[in-house]
Amino acid sequence: MSAAFEFTPENQQRFEEILSRYPRKRAAMLPTLHLAQQQQGLITGEVELFVARILEVPVVDVREILTFYTLFFRRPMGRHHIRLCMSISCWIRGANQIKDYMTRHMGVESGETMKDGSFSWEAVPDCLGACEMAPMIQLDKDFHGSLTPDKIRHILAEASKHSPGSKDDETKKHRNAKTN
């Protein structure tokens, strides 16, 4: 059994600011879980107990949220996490081939984490909202599109040099955005 979870002083302050936005504590559920996951990397049982306590809801209500929404991790993931969009527009543009390549290249199946803990990845059935760059992935915060095996190798090699959310990562934002 690991130690009880607490917010860092900085996150405790952010949590209190979040609470002030809503007339009811419970409404802070998703932002509080996002904040906890940002701190801890995943939502453990201890985090569930903590969130239930500070939002004054039964712990089963927190579990219900975690099993309903897909962006909260209940087990450890890689240092970088990749979502490959398998929805209709990406599928038309060859997402199945990208999925086959990812499986070979990563050496682990969709939903799994590489042995060295560097990357986890999953092929998701829901559209990630970037069909103009199909086929595409979300790597941590960023979208990368018009994927080919070469491009994936390059993106992964770049990412493995940095930790998610680092300064270098910031400078890359939106480089894929296209417009008419």
Binding site: P31, F68, S89, W91, D126, G129, C131, K141
Partner: protein
């Protein structure tokens, strides 16, 4: 005549994200005019006469939606901005969030002033991390510069705007599912009535508007309702952003007047069909819309024309399929999505989407019988009009159209256990 860009003029210009730049290019003039010179009722009337319709998907007249809100309940009135863009094929609101966040904030101010709202929540889908960061930076700047807060634009009107991130659930784009999610619950849609305009967020009257709908308001205030109404077609005012994807040469977001032709979008703006192949089918309004065969694609892109074509304009997501796309596999892909995203509250949807996905899987695996086509159509009937929200109806409208319009492809798969269109996809 060049097509006027009403909400996309700043796309691809990162300077537009800054308040000062936005202001020096006409930004916040519409909100300023509304607050300085107009009564809330005049603002609502202007929006009503502009024929602006809800651009999230339902196409409900925006001014009418606002007029439903009771002002005398003694409770606060809330605005919930729907930025949970998740309908497969849709990515237009992302462009507004990323490139023109102040236009959205200005639209929020105008709506809030018209309806008497002092608190707004922008519900952004959880996957849009970067767009949310850009929007939050714009909100912070707007507070610092007195555009939001206790005295909006220096006037005696207060407005707080909060960004609220979702966490990966398609159903939270359904307006009452969104409210449940905002309240910290799973996004199970609510039975209506009562409608959210009367009993919405925190049991209070609530307006729920889509990002693009709100982004149109500043120019309607500046140029007037008649100007806006004349850009579109009958009962469909203005322009709209079309998210074009699939088998086209130039996928992207294109802003066109409502009533423009689908062929103009695909061939002029989208550069034609990928690999110069034949056009086979088009989904005109996101995965929930019925697919149109090549012969049915000579239509106008407005809400009423698409209904007449027995489909819908929905979220403005136009997905193009060329001759290489197998329609059985396309239906299978779409039903995998709906089976995954059904929230599980209503039996016809929870069971129906899963059964249909299973039947389509066995058709693709060569384990089906000719009776399965009959089962699919029967399930479609049982999924229509039998659930709380429109997810089930949309899913049924979608897969029924594939089965009915491309029956021979389903029959070939069942009979031969293989694909005669494209084994590769």
């Amino acid at each position: 005549m060049p097509i006027e860009k009403l909400v996309s003029e700043h796309f691809s210009n990162p300077e537009a994200r800054k308040l000062a730049w936005y202001r020096s290019h006409g930004g916040y003039e519409g909100a300023g005019k509304a607050l300085d010179e107009m009564t809330p009722q005049e603002v609502t009337d202007e929006v009503l006469h502009s024929n602006l319709r809800g651009l999230g998907g339902a196409g409900f007249p925006t001014g009418r939606k606002w007029a439903f809100v009771p002002r005398d309940t003694g409770k606060p009135i809330y605005l919930a901005v729907n930025a949970d863009e998740s309908e497969p094929g849709t990515f237009k609101d992302r462009y507004i969030l990323e490139w023109d966040p102040h236009r959205l904030l200005e639209g929020i101010i105008i709506c809030a002033y018209a309806v008497g709202i002092h608190t707004a929540y922008i519900y952004v889908r959880g996957e849009y991390v970067r767009p949310a960061e850009i929007l939050q930076a714009a909100i912070d700047e707007a507070y610092r510069e007195g555009v939001l807060g206790k005295r909006v634009l220096g006037q005696d009107f207060s407005l707080d705007v909060y960004l609220h991130r979702g966490a990966g659930a398609y159903i939270c784009g359904e307006e009452t599912g969104l409210l449940e999610s905002l309240e910290g619950k799973k996004g199970w849609p609510r039975l209506k009535p009562p409608f959210p305009a009367v009993v919405g967020l925190f049991e209070s009257p609530t307006v729920i508007n889509n990002v693009e709908t709100l982004a149109h308001l500043p120019k309607i205030m500046v140029n007037g309702s008649q100007w806006f109404a004349e850009i579109g077609c009958e009962r469909n005012g203005g322009t709209r952003l079309f998210a074009l994807s699939g088998s086209v040469k130039k996928p992207g977001v294109y802003e066109l007047p409502l009533g423009s032709s689908l062929h103009e979008l695909i061939y002029q703006h989208g550069g034609g069909i990928l690999d110069d192949k034949a056009l086979k089918a088009v989904i005109p309004g996101g995965a929930s819309a019925a697919v149109l065969t090549q012969q049915e694609t000579e239509i106008q892109l407005d809400f009423d024309s698409c209904i007449k074509a027995k489909s819908m304009l929905g979220s403005g997501a136009v997905i193009v399929m060329n001759e290489d796309v197998c329609m059985v596999k396309a239906a299978h892909n779409i039903m995998r999505f709906f089976a995954h995203e059904s929230c599980g509250q209503c039996t016809p949807c929870r069971e129906g989407t899963a059964w249909v996905y299973r039947i389509l899987t066995r058709i693709l695996e060569g384990n089906a019988t000719p009776a399965d086509i009959h089962y699919l159509l029967e399930i479609a009937d049982n999924m229509s009009g039998t659930s709380i929200c429109a997810l089930s109806d949309g899913a049924a409208m979608s897969f029924r159209s594939y089965v009915k319009k491309f029956t021979s492809e389903f029959e070939y798969h069942i009979r031969h256990g293989k694909c005669d269109v494209n084994e590769r996809l």
